[in-house]
Symmetry: D2
Subunit: 313 residues, 4 copies
């Protein structure tokens, strides 16, 4: 289903080449100042800013706030944020129902929905649907950092939380100076590259998350794995910790605040935040849709067939 | 919270050293043959069978089916499965509130619950709480493989699904012949080791999972990360795929069934199962509770202090 | 929150005088034929068709299907149905923040949302928000009556279910011939009337609903009481059954199909449908917003004050 | 399903004649003093205290607190409260599968669960399952009235909330002095009576509940209708308000606190509490299981048959 969250509840909707896509965000406290400009920076980061290697599709991605806002402030009612699709060349995708792209959702979507899925641009499986996630994230950050509703958040905005995320590996290369080069090489070959993103949240209070099914790791991983290209998630030492002994991996407690000498647990013990930085790394597989010739099955003529994708994907 | 699932809904309860722990499983179809013996094999696997390196605590772990069963068959009402705690030496843990174990949940539990958490054996954070998860898993497998309720499961049990799981790495060693040796070495030092488990499900139908928030990966990762020691989860190529190019990572489709020449996607595209084997690897950090002397903070006397854990943990 | 449902999940959004309102409907099977025309009849019934006594506001209420539809059929992705607000005269409502209408949500909305709620036309509390509920109901009926997706609904549309609803009492009068007269009398006085609606579903299969928290009565009552003006719900004999003895109220079973000689249980036993007609009656209080002078509190000047509402409300 | 609630989450389990029944309550703050004695008064009220007309079955109903409690205080982990069934004479119910009791859940349970339901004493449909609801209610009241966890409830216990409930009508009689007589008359005839319960909560803060699907009325009605014998629920004026005009039914606001001259809305506007008393009335149908001879269908021999129930039901 397309709704997630108990207190802060996000519903996403829309397709890559439909009329519009977006999100309904419920559980937002009233009185939060919010405007279209608040979304600009994160939407630009999602779009990729024109660097080499990002999707060539260009749209303005202007959010329309359809409901939940009055006089520039949230009302407490559901916030609907919508993005019109403008640059939709449907013709590019007509071929995909007979020649599904390898490692893309084309084939499973067609089977799950008995051929009724919207095939244009991946339909509801498109990375473009993450526009709704980014918009919901902007609202979430506003809630964390604002002080407008003293009754709802105890009077103290979480001014000291800092989120940062960076790409730590692209196509097997961990030298950030060489990232552009690695991407340019792949593009020259009509190919794509995967990578690893590291996210870090500093200043998170101790005690967030619940034991077991609402563990901080469970909730974060649930959301991260909802993005189709994500194939791995690890916290703190992650897969590296699995190679260590307890005496190497344990984080010694060094003061009454519970500070630790290392952070192999990535800020989470037993599903509960421990006051250290939350550190999570996300493995993104290389974009399935590549310009380089590859092989797929021709479901119309029933034989293995070459596939060359032309144009934006 | 301690409840998970929309159709098949699992609630877990209990503490390591309380009276009992277990699970309430809702959404089980009526008419399923079920008995205490059905749980024996999986409970034995959880307990560790006496091999080197597993927890020294020994209990019979006899399930009591408290509700939802009549004349040896499920009734459609919630199934409550309970395990008495018998071998509980509370004295072992009295020290832990002042000297929290590094990388254990002792400290966060105390802070989150303002000192009211049950500290004995980790309380509700204990690995022993996974008894309820194992019991729920036994019921889930019964549902998949039984043919007793033709109206509920469409008349065809999923007889062809095969689950297997194995340890593929322990303490950095991937040679299964040397696993016992690696563990014995660590134990000799009073230390623990982490490892990686690979789970594989063969014969899973195409089309399970939903786009985005109920993706097959999201739901599996949510459950896996609910286990406190799990710090990483990856599907198919996982973090390895992030090092590849698309032309290397894509799984070419080779026949009308949608079979592929490789399985880097681990059986899931766009959150939907594609008919290939589901492959998931789980990174388990080394057990935090080690016999070897380590360092923690003495919260009573307010200074860094050595910690040596004696006896079962 | 504004989302309801486990399998068929409805999210509503929007305000009376905002840009638009509507619904996101998730869990709709793929392949269902759907078009704007399908909504016309039920939207007209909601609007009131021009009879005496209904809200004087007139809008076209044209649904826009924003997502989840492709080539005239549902895709399996969330269906977003939106209604633009066109006839919004905000000036009519400016007075309501200082002079809240008695028995309306004006005052509680202002207090709950610390004055940030959208006051225009009741904002998110407006009866106009039920447009989303009606639209979701149209989709639900399409699902019940269509045969387009044999894999999803077992190949048999519920062609024999018939829903009917009628007003059985208005302003204390149960003689349908006099309903127009009762309404006209009240309108002449600038007043409003309440009433009782009876809904009946014939042909509902036996066995729907679950014991306790997902009882058929619980789910229906939950939805009915979400409409602000609904103050009572009863099934079958309802409050009348509470006056009877068991020997009078029990429905004797008369054949192997489980047919009964009476239907005091309104088609539901123990929360489960029994094959009889589902009968539910809903008490709707008189519209709070009346043209007749009444008394409220002037929160600006801090005294009891007369209130006369002019124009549409 | 048998779980309800977002913050305070109740799961119920068990059957009338199984080993035990009870509840798992999640979301309880840590540090709440709780003991077996806390349950005595409400359990006695449920049992009926020996007055005429209540169920003749007598059990001690001793709660066992299985988990979530340590040193007499809640731990923040799920609280499991269990009641053993001791006085179970299964023989009394053997007849019910062939001769289902009219207006009881016997027949629908058998059909829904394909004959696998536990028929003894109504199984999971028994009124005895409400033991879990009463126990959960005791915990809820403890949470409201306690001041032990200042961080969780803002430091101010809701000391001023008063709950009261009373029977306002039995078998059509509203004169409380005659209730015993009405019941005795019915019992003499081997018959049962229905009735109406009025619940009142005084001192409830303004602003609880959410618009639409989490309206205060929706949530309360959902829970009330989960009890099998409840056939009607109304708030404030309820069905009586439906007979009035707006000018008669509206509650005039008379002061800056929002106090009103009347309380026809039963303390709720637009789904939100308004500070007035919450007033809800519940219609309970007469107990279906009566000693007087009645008629049912004999499903074994396939003909209409007399039914006389002997002994406790």
């Amino acid at each position: 289903m397309n709704t997630f969250g108990r207190f802060f509840r996000v519903t996403i909707f829309g397709e890559s080449h439909g009329e519009a896509l977006g999100t309904v965000v419920d559980g937002v406290p009233a009185g939060l100042a919010l405007g279209v400009d608040d979304f600009a920076a994160d939407l630009a980061r999602r779009r990729g800013g024109g660097g080499a290697g990002t999707t060539p599709r260009r749209e303005d991605d202007v959010p329309e706030i359809i409901s939940g806002l009055y006089n520039g402030r949230t009302t407490g009612a559901p916030l609907t944020i919508m993005f019109r699709n403008t640059n939709t060349r449907s013709g590019d995708y007509a071929n995909l129902t007979t020649h599904p792209r390898p490692s893309h959702a084309d084939l499973v979507a067609s089977r799950k929905f008995h051929g009724h899925n919207d095939p244009r641009g991946g339909g509801h499986f498109s990375g473009r649907v993450t526009l709704g996630l980014v918009a919901a994230g902007v609202v979430a950050k506003k809630m964390l950092f604002s002080d407008t509703d003293p009754l709802e958040n105890g009077g103290s905005a979480q001014k000291n939380i800092v989120f940062s995320s960076s790409i730590v590996q692209i196509g097997g290369c961990s030298d950030k100076n060489r990232f552009d080069e690695v991407i340019a090489d792949a593009m020259r070959d009509g190919d794509s590259v995967g990578g690893v993103i590291e996210c870090r949240a500093t200043g998170v209070p101790t005690g967030l998350g619940e034991p077991f099914f609402d563990s901080a790791e469970s909730l974060a991983a649930h959301l991260l794995f909802s993005i189709p290209a994500v194939k791995g998630v690890e916290f703190g030492g992650g897969f590296g910790s699995a190679r260590l002994r307890g005496s190497q991996n344990n984080d010694p407690i060094v003061d009454a605040q519970g500070s630790t000498a290392s952070n192999n647990d990535g800020g989470i013990n037993g599903g509960i935040t421990n006051g250290n930085d939350i550190v999570v790394r996300v493995a993104v597989k290389p974009t399935a849709s590549i310009a380089r010739p590859q092989q797929t099955y021709n479901f119309k003529e029933q034989h293995i067939a070459p596939l060359t994708i032309v144009g934006p994907a």
